[in-house]
């Protein structure tokens, strides 16, 4: 599997999680949850940014990363790295918020944290190797 293909697959997985949380937000439903804190996290103020659901922003970011994976070249690789690093850093901030402020853990957020970390590692590897 090429590294661009691996990035695309990981971005699709991340987009799936983000899409589910976006639907949960707009349909006012409860997310499937085994950690017990998903509802609390998804209804906290940390779940939106300037009125926009963070899940929707994540979905757009994953779609953008997917787009960079479909294009060859250093510019596309660099764009993917920037987006992925933003995702990792902001996900880290949200993880801190869950632990220190909300005192609840959302399994979907943890899944996203893992996926975006994998995406970032792959994007960095691609940038360093892209011809």
């Amino acid at each position: 599997m090429t590294i661009r293909r691996a990035i695309a697959l990981a971005a699709l997985a991340g987009a799936g999680v983000a899409a589910y949380l976006t639907v949960v937000h707009y349909t006012h439903t409860s997310p499937i949850c085994t950690t017990g804190g998903c509802e609390k996290v998804q209804h906290s103020s940390y779940a939106t940014l300037a009125g926009v659901p963070v899940a929707l922003l994540g979905l757009l970011a994953y779609v953008a990363i997917l787009a960079t994976a479909l294009v060859r070249g250093v510019a596309a690789a660099l764009a993917g790295v920037v987006l992925a690093l933003i995702g990792v850093a902001f996900s880290g901030y949200l993880l801190w918020a869950q632990l220190a402020r909300i005192h609840a853990i959302c399994q979907w957020c943890l899944a996203n944290d893992a996926i975006v970390t994998v995406v970032a590692v792959l994007c960095i590897a691609r940038l360093l190797r892209e011809p």
Binding site: T27, S45, V82, V88, F90, L128
Partner: protein, 233 residues
């Protein structure tokens, strides 16, 4: 691995860091330390109340007035179990029953835990004049401190009101009026009629049947909704 690529990577890290700082500054969460007396840090975050958005609310009633069933919810803003139900279960009850028009909820605030509860209850009922009763009740739960620690203060109420989209000044002005006192007394009287012995207590009514306490074995959403569904059959 060329030096240029490493420089590009370093640049990417820098750009990402700047963007994330901006995002955090714009972020919906905020650190509200210093407001209120004994609230725990866990409950201080301002509230995004998307689960109440667009739901009809009038006074103490949440949901359509024509809903065939009514669930009266006896609560005390200092009650930890009430908080648990409000934060973990109420959103799904609203989504599955209130928004669909099957059920309306009626807030019955009663003082169970201690004198400080009255201050919270007065603010909650005063917020009902702005049709924000349920929003303010929720916002207070998110700021709940230790029982009888005096955490319900005017500052906490004001902050909760703002986060709930209510106007704090009218709440302050009407909280101690005879009208709100009448609301509290009516809830207390009805609690005696319904034989309420603690909070939260849920009383379900579907005309022409008499009101009956909903037998609840657990407050989590799955169990509560299962028991509510059975009672509504």
């Amino acid at each position: 691995m060329s030096r240029n690529r490493l420089l590009l990577l370093a640049g990417a890290v820098g750009v990402a860091a700047v963007v994330v700082v901006v995002l955090v500054a714009l972020g919906g969460g905020s650190d509200s330390k210093g407001v209120g007396a004994a609230s725990t840090a866990a409950t201080r975050e301002p509230v995004e109340r998307s689960f109440l958005a667009g739901v009809q609310q009038h006074g103490d009633t949440l949901g359509s007035p024509s809903a065939p069933a009514t669930l009266a919810v006896y609560e005390d803003p200092q009650c930890p179990y009430c908080r648990e139900w409000a934060l973990q279960t109420l959103p799904s009850v609203v989504a599955d029953y209130v928004r669909t028009g099957r059920l309306k909820l009626v807030y019955r605030g009663i003082q169970i835990i201690g004198p400080n509860s009255e201050q919270g209850l007065r603010a909650i009922y005063a917020a009902g004049r702005q049709n924000k009763l349920w929003n303010v009740a929720d916002a207070l739960y998110r700021r709940q401190g230790a029982e009888n620690s005096g955490w319900i203060t005017p500052a906490v109420i004001a902050e909760a009101a703002v986060s709930a989209g209510a106007r704090p000044a009218p709440i302050r002005a009407t909280a101690d009026t005879a009208a709100v006192t009448a609301d509290l007394r009516a809830a207390a009287r009805q609690a005696m009629v319904d034989r309420v012995q603690g909070t939260p207590t849920f009383v379900l009514q579907r005309a022409p049947a008499l009101p009956q306490q909903l037998q609840v074995t657990a407050l989590d959403a799955a169990t509560f909704e299962s028991e509510l569904a059975a009672a509504l059959q």
